[in-house]
């Protein structure tokens, strides 16, 4: 943006309370601040009810914080004359269980909904819808099927495609892999990584799975009871695996394996997070002795 060189998103001291009017007020977000630079792949983890979904809904202005604000490309998105519809095209959000939002007669129509709303012309709309459906790995036969006739996993892909078709600069995924089979999960995450790498799309991945965020994200945010307690690289965050465990979160399996080996006297690198890294580190340690 012209007025400031910063490209990306800034969350600035976000606070939000549910049930403000009643006897059971609930502080879902408590002074949360962070930035996502253009092209980054950020993971967001937290226990059930820690406020992840609440937080991500503020990032594309679907919910207004009680105090604090969100800046996108240097502009306050809650400003009165800010074009929030355009923002939602740039900050695409895939909701938790997005398959429940489908409504159109055919898969193709469904995916065209987003780009058409963004004001693309017909040709652009159809081209980007086609590309998005291909990208999420749906077979050609699906195009003219009713989304309601697909399986749960395929519906999930349709919903993701419908957001991808808007060509977002920042893609937010709220637990995209919940309920998918192991293979579908890997495919989906690989697809997202590919988008992040090839088209420089920033990604914010909300997940319960430490393995997923550890393997894919370059930075991790940890929410606990509405407060942001860590904002660091995966290796740094998972070095606190004992604290994480107290919050009801686990570190990736490999962190435990490596810390166990280290405690047993083997000189391994405890910051290894994926099986491959662990293997390499163990082999190196074995060769040394």
């Amino acid at each position: 943006m012209a007025e400031s060189g910063f490209r990306g998103l800034i969350a600035d001291h976000l606070v939000y309370e549910y049930n403000k009017e009643s006897s059971q007020r609930l502080r879902a977000l408590d002074d949360v601040s962070f930035t996502i630079r253009q092209g980054e792949f950020v993971g967001l983890i937290g226990h059930t009810g820690s406020g992840k979904s609440t937080l991500v809904q503020m990032l594309n202005a679907l919910m207004k914080p009680d105090s604090g604000t969100v800046y996108y490309d240097g502009r306050d998105v809650f400003e009165k004359d800010y074009d929030r519809k355009a923002l939602r095209g740039k900050v695409g959000e895939v909701f938790q269980y997005p398959e429940h939002q489908l409504f159109a007669d055919t898969v193709f129509e469904e995916v065209c909904f987003g780009p058409r709303n963004m004001g693309m012309d017909r040709k652009q709309t159809e081209l980007s819808a086609y590309a998005a459906i291909k990208k999420v790995g749906l077979p050609d036969e699906c195009f003219d099927q009713s989304p309601f006739d697909l399986s749960g996993g395929q519906r999930r892909r349709v919903a993701i495609a419908s957001v991808l078709a808007m060509k977002p600069e920042l893609l937010i995924l709220d637990e995209p892999t919940a309920g998918l089979d192991p293979l579908g999960r890997l495919e989906l995450l690989d697809m997202i990584t590919e988008l992040n790498r090839d088209s420089a799309m920033s990604v914010l991945l909300v997940s319960h799975s430490m393995e997923d965020v550890a393997a894919y994200a370059s930075r991790i945010l940890v929410l606990d009871k509405g407060r942001l307690i860590y904002d660091d690289t995966p290796a740094e965050v998972f070095a606190h695996y004992e604290e994480l465990q107290k919050l009801g979160l686990a570190a990736p399996e490999m962190t435990y394996v490596m810390n166990g080996l280290k405690a047993a006297g083997m000189d391994v690198d405890t910051s290894a997070l994926t099986p491959d890294e662990a293997e390499e580190s163990i082999l190196r340690a074995l060769r040394l002795c």
Partner: protein, 291 residues
């Protein structure tokens, strides 16, 4: 957004009123509403108002919360008050153009306002201090003698409690779907009426799908647990009268007796011919507001 609409607006608190058996509260509310229509005399209203204030204090529901329930009926309240202010015949004390305020109109309007306010606050106490489940339970018990006339009391109560249970869930679902479509660039605000209605299609279809899915799941879950209607069914928390309910009934009877004695002995207004027509009119208005 949509979650702000409260239905069955239960306010959670620890209070003697909350702990009463819902049947007691139902009976007391009913009796109270009737008592408001028995007599028209300032002393009676003072007693009714005083009792109401005591109960509100005892219920530990914040006054602000109580009055929130009044907001939705304020228009009807004002309208009825203005109607009786200007259209009651009697001795004119002020007039302007075609509008006339009479002495009788003034008192009539005050009575109407008081009556409707107390009526609504009185029934609000019931819904604020009783969970919908307990309320439908009580209704089922109260209706159960009607079973001899083949009134399906259990089924009616079951349908009511399921409906009550589903309203907040569906509101939440609507909220979620609307947000999901907003995230895909849907626009529910701009455009003409036709466009606005059309923009709701992406909300309504998933909502209906979700409602049917939920209904299906619920039916299946109920069947899996061998639900077979009301016959021979027992309850996990059966309604049981306690000592405090007996006390409450005693207080209620005393209140009614006091109202009747006061109403019969302390007659302040000898003029009563104009009353019946107006008060039946008021009953119909107020039963509307209760719905």
């Amino acid at each position: 957004m949509l979650r702000d609409i409260t239905l069955g607006q239960y306010y959670k608190a620890e209070s003697p009123i909350h702990r009463l058996d819902p049947r007691t509260k139902l009976a007391a509310t009913f009796a109270y509403l009737i008592s408001l229509f028995l007599f028209k005399n300032p002393f009676v209203y003072m007693i009714a108002g005083g009792v109401l204030v005591c109960v509100i204090i005892a219920s530990r529901v914040p006054v602000r919360y109580m009055l929130k329930g009044m907001k939705s009926v304020i228009f009807i309240l004002l309208f009825t008050m203005l109607m009786s202010l200007f259209f009651t015949k009697g001795t004119v004390i002020w007039s302007f153009w075609k509008l006339r305020i009479t002495k009788e109109g003034l008192s009539q309007s005050a009575y109407t306002g008081l009556r409707i306010t107390m009526l609504i606050l009185g029934s609000n106490i019931l819904t604020l201090t009783t969970t919908p489940t307990r309320l439908t339970n009580a209704l089922e018990r109260v209706m159960s003698p009607l079973k001899i006339f083949r009134v399906p009391a259990h089924e009616i109560a079951m349908m009511m409690s399921i409906a009550l249970r589903f309203i907040p869930i569906l509101l939440e679902e609507t909220d979620r779907i609307m947000k999901a479509q907003l995230a895909r660039g849907a626009d529910f605000e701009s455009g003409n009426l036709f466009k606005k209605v059309k923009s709701l299609i992406p909300v309504l279809i998933p909502l209906f799908v979700a409602a049917f899915r939920r209904a299906n799941d619920l039916a299946m879950a109920m069947e899996a647990r061998c639900y077979h209607g009301g016959k021979g069914r027992t309850q996990m928390k059966p309604l049981k009268y306690a000592r405090r309910d007996a006390a409450a009934y005693c207080l209620l009877i005393m209140y009614m007796a006091l109202m009747i004695v006061t109403g019969l002995t302390l007659k302040s207004t000898p003029k009563t011919e104009a009353l019946p027509a107006v008060s039946t009119n008021m009953i119909s208005v107020s039963s509307d507001t209760l719905r």
